[in-house]
């Protein structure tokens, strides 16, 4: 158990994490520490294991070996405590995954009421505040299908924030969006990061990485190849693979 009084204790710890799907090794000897308040971008080519790594943090994927710790506690998808841990870890998906049979407001209220036992009225007030924060208070009573992709993703962020998470995971949050809607989602994420939220973001938006994140982690073929401040990474990536990646991103 980590000492919770110790401010330097990492919020997330991945220790020697390995994971494969069949013969395909997707994560190999992953070591990653995320400090409270830190915003990290995970970058790398498609199929490099970025999303899998993110999904190991809240136990949507089970690791083959090694350990994943959140707030000093082991993340085990089979344990009884996994729900309580996930309630503290917000996750935003590429495909938004708003609940289609509920209104926007109900989407945001559901988990606080049913998982945390927050009173309905209080949850509703909080949900409206959060919709205000993500800039779409007027859509509270709309169905998810009536929203644009950018709006849906902002609702998804509000839904995750409604649980007052200690950590937010973003799995390619803008990859399914039309270009003109990417900005509105990234703006919400930037404000979150500036507000001190601990974030791990898998994204191809290198502008966001450069502008917002504290540390960029570059993964290739299931391994962390290098990590550091984004400015350094873009200016002078050390490994050939990372340089190649930067060249491709910058020159398209």
């Amino acid at each position: 158990m980590a000492d919770s009084a110790d401010a330097a204790a990492p919020l997330v710890e991945l220790r020697n994490v390995r994971k494969s799907f069949g013969d395909n090794v997707v994560l190999d000897e992953i070591e990653l520490l995320v400090a409270p308040g830190e915003a990290i971008v995970i970058a790398g080519p498609s199929g490099s294991g970025k999303s899998t790594m993110l999904r190991c943090i809240n136990g949507l994927e089970e690791v083959d070996s090694g350990s994943v710790l959140f707030d000093g506690e082991r993340v085990d998808p089979r344990s009884r405590t996994i729900g309580r841990m996930r309630a503290d870890i917000g996750m935003v998906f590429q495909q938004f995954n708003l609940f289609g049979h509920m209104t926007v407001l109900e989407n945001v209220m559901l988990a606080p009421v049913k998982v945390k036992g927050v009173e309905r009225d209080a949850a509703k007030v909080r949900a409206r505040e959060l919709l205000e924060t993500v800039g779409i208070p007027e859509k509270a009573d709309a169905a998810p299908a009536d929203l644009s992709g950018g709006q849906q993703q902002r609702v998804a962020i509000a839904r995750a924030l409604a649980m007052d998470p200690k950590l937010m995971l973003f799995d390619e949050p803008t990859s399914a969006l039309d270009p003109e809607m990417i900005r509105e989602v990234l703006d919400v994420m930037r404000d979150l990061a500036r507000g001190g939220m601990t974030m791990v973001v898998v994204t191809h938006e290198m502008g966001f990485a450069r502008e917002v994140c504290d540390r960029l982690v570059f993964i290739d073929e299931g391994r962390i190849v290098e990590q550091g401040p984004p400015a350094e990474f873009f200016a002078a990536a050390k490994s050939p693979r990372a340089r190649e990646f930067v060249d491709k991103i910058i020159h398209h």
């Binding site: 729900g83 996930r86 998906f93 609940f99 289609g100 049979h101 299908a145 995750a160 995971l169």
Partner: protein, 219 residues
């Protein structure tokens, strides 16, 4: 044209009684089909291979035996085996259990139509498997299959005529046949029966349409 109207007014009590019997049969069988169909669907999507197989055996048994045969087994077969089953119970049970096989299959397909992403979103918010099934997956699965469930219900209403044909239950069709053999107005009697069944099926159709408008999920 006027002949069936005349027959209807002359025999209104008998036809109304048959209609009432058919309605009760249909409602009873519907309840059995809904409850058993949901349970069997739950078996079919259970994590255990054996439970899945058990559900599969149910579906294949009740879907692949003609309803008429099921009715005869449910009544004559059970009585001969010493089970003192009544015609009502046998009729409602056979029609309900037969229909439940179709309900289970449709519900199962509805569950699979709910994307994995919905489940992951619920889990990531801290819901456990059971809550996810109850609050996220099932409500969406049912809404996805309102229309096929409506078709099954309409088929069940029509299949209820077989209950009266096989067992001593004076449903709408049976009453019409009695009237036909008494008055020799065969066509008129069956037109009256047809109108009775249409009333039920059209009511079901309208109910399904309203449910769809209210609950269907746009994606």
């Amino acid at each position: 044209m006027s002949s069936w109207l005349e027959l209807l007014t002359d025999n209104f009590d008998a036809l109304a009684s048959g209609f009432w019997v058919t309605l009760r049969l249909v409602v009873g069988a519907f309840l059995v089909a809904a409850v058993v169909g949901t349970l069997v669907a739950a078996l079919r999507i259970a994590p255990s291979k054996w439970l899945q197989r058990l559900g599969g055996v149910y579906v294949e048994t009740f879907r692949n035996i003609p309803l008429l045969v099921l009715l005869i087994i449910a009544y004559s077969g059970l009585r001969r085996a010493g089970v003192p089953i009544g015609t009502w119970t046998a009729g409602i049970a056979a029609l309900g259990l037969y229909t439940a096989a179709y309900v289970a299959e449709v519900l199962r397909s509805g569950v699979f139509a709910v994307s994995r992403g919905q489940v992951e979103a619920a889990l990531s918010l801290g819901f456990d498997q059971r809550q996810t099934l109850r609050r996220i997956v099932l409500p969406q699965a049912v809404r996805t299959v309102i229309s096929p469930l409506g078709s099954i219900t309409i088929a069940m209403i029509k299949n209820s005529a077989i209950v009266g044909a096989a067992l001593a239950v004076n449903d709408l069709l049976k009453e019409a046949r009695i009237i036909a053999s008494r008055t020799f107005e065969t066509e008129a009697a069956f037109v009256c029966a047809a109108i009775g069944y249409l009333l039920l099926t059209i009511a079901a159709t309208i109910a399904v349409r309203l449910l769809e408008q209210r609950y269907a999920i746009r994606r």
